[in-house]
Homo-oligomer: 210 residues x 2
Amino acid sequence: MSLIPIRPGAQSGGGRPAAPAAETGRRDAARNRELLLCAAREIVGESSVDALTMDRLAQRAGVGKGTVFRRFGSRAGLMMALLSDAEAEFQGRFMFGPPPVGPGAPPLERLIAVGAARIAWTLEFGELARAADASAYNRFDVPPAVLWHRHLEMLLRDAGVTADPRLMASALGAALEPELLLHSVGVHGIAPERLAETWRELVTRIVGGH
Amino acid sequence: MSLIPIRPGAQSGGGRPAAPAAETGRRDAARNRELLLCAAREIVGESSVDALTMDRLAQRAGVGKGTVFRRFGSRAGLMMALLSDAEAEFQGRFMFGPPPVGPGAPPLERLIAVGAARIAWTLEFGELARAADASAYNRFDVPPAVLWHRHLEMLLRDAGVTADPRLMASALGAALEPELLLHSVGVHGIAPERLAETWRELVTRIVGGH
DNA sequence: ATGCTAAACGGACTGCGGTCCGTTTATATT
DNA sequence: AATATAAACGGACCGCAGTCCGTTTAGCAT
């Protein structure tokens, strides 16, 4: 179940139809949607995210290419759809899960914990996340990203950061972007623990704790 | 004059030739390089960065498409070449320019000032910078980016940040990435001064100043 | 001047994301 | 069951970045 409905085709820029998520509309549409997601997971599983081209996907699923774009709007939209479960699970953890990531722990502790969790999550699903981001201007305005930033903002407020917590959250959030994390680990071989440690240092200093 | 030689074709990934920057090699090559840069600036000036396609550029400059790619390696490489002057000027400012951006001021002041300068710079050349970034994994490993991060790292050290200043610099640098800044200003209408103010708050808290 | 060779050239070609539009079909209505 | 219609379908088509390879040429050696 999706806590925030992730509607892949909902990019503000382009396609009118705003692809319906599941249960609505015609039966064959829903069937094809599942067919496509399934085939997409197969391709990613067998090869890599890069190997997932829209043509190949259409062929594999036995549908026309137009159908793929009708369902998901764009390649990035498809990637978001593939991520949606993992994303929802992560959202659930920081919103309703057990402390220190979920509510119940002091704000600073939560910030530290949720950052570490985000790092781990990104390293697990990062390739998909990167492909989902790779799109356009609205990268930061997609529902899960908005929720995530709002959550950081709230934690900052709770921790007593009064100066423009919204922008502070953006700035801080930038330190956890998939691009950066994947690059640090993948190219420079930084250990994930060091990233988490740096994040701890960062937020600790920012909320003035210590 | 370029403080750090920016060699557009030097992406570690692909093209072997690593396009020679100016004065080396054959005369016609150099001439075509200038021809292309000139035509590129024309196109960008008349329309926009997005309107600068490699085909159009080749046609406009009256050379073959192969030549464009031989010179610049990729679209991103071309963008870097277009940025190179502005980039070098900015480098000069924070390395040798007058305080507080250049050397001479206390580290925290320099951090604050250089961040503000970077924000202004990005808002001026951001579209090019975005197009130059838009490439690959090595976005952070291109010479100007490396120099910039190293500089932040040095300032952090000078300011007494002892815990993993390298990663701290990456994290902080992420808050100044073109994507984020352009999005804040362009989509959400945040005033540049607020961005600079947030940066000030951020680094002040991090170096434990005040 | 002539010839040699490495380098530069140009444009046809590939694979990709994304669009368009004529055709088919699921479903509601009678 | 027959019909209507909005929706979904499929694949030809477009423009793009990037590659490949046969052809041309600049600059040097003789």
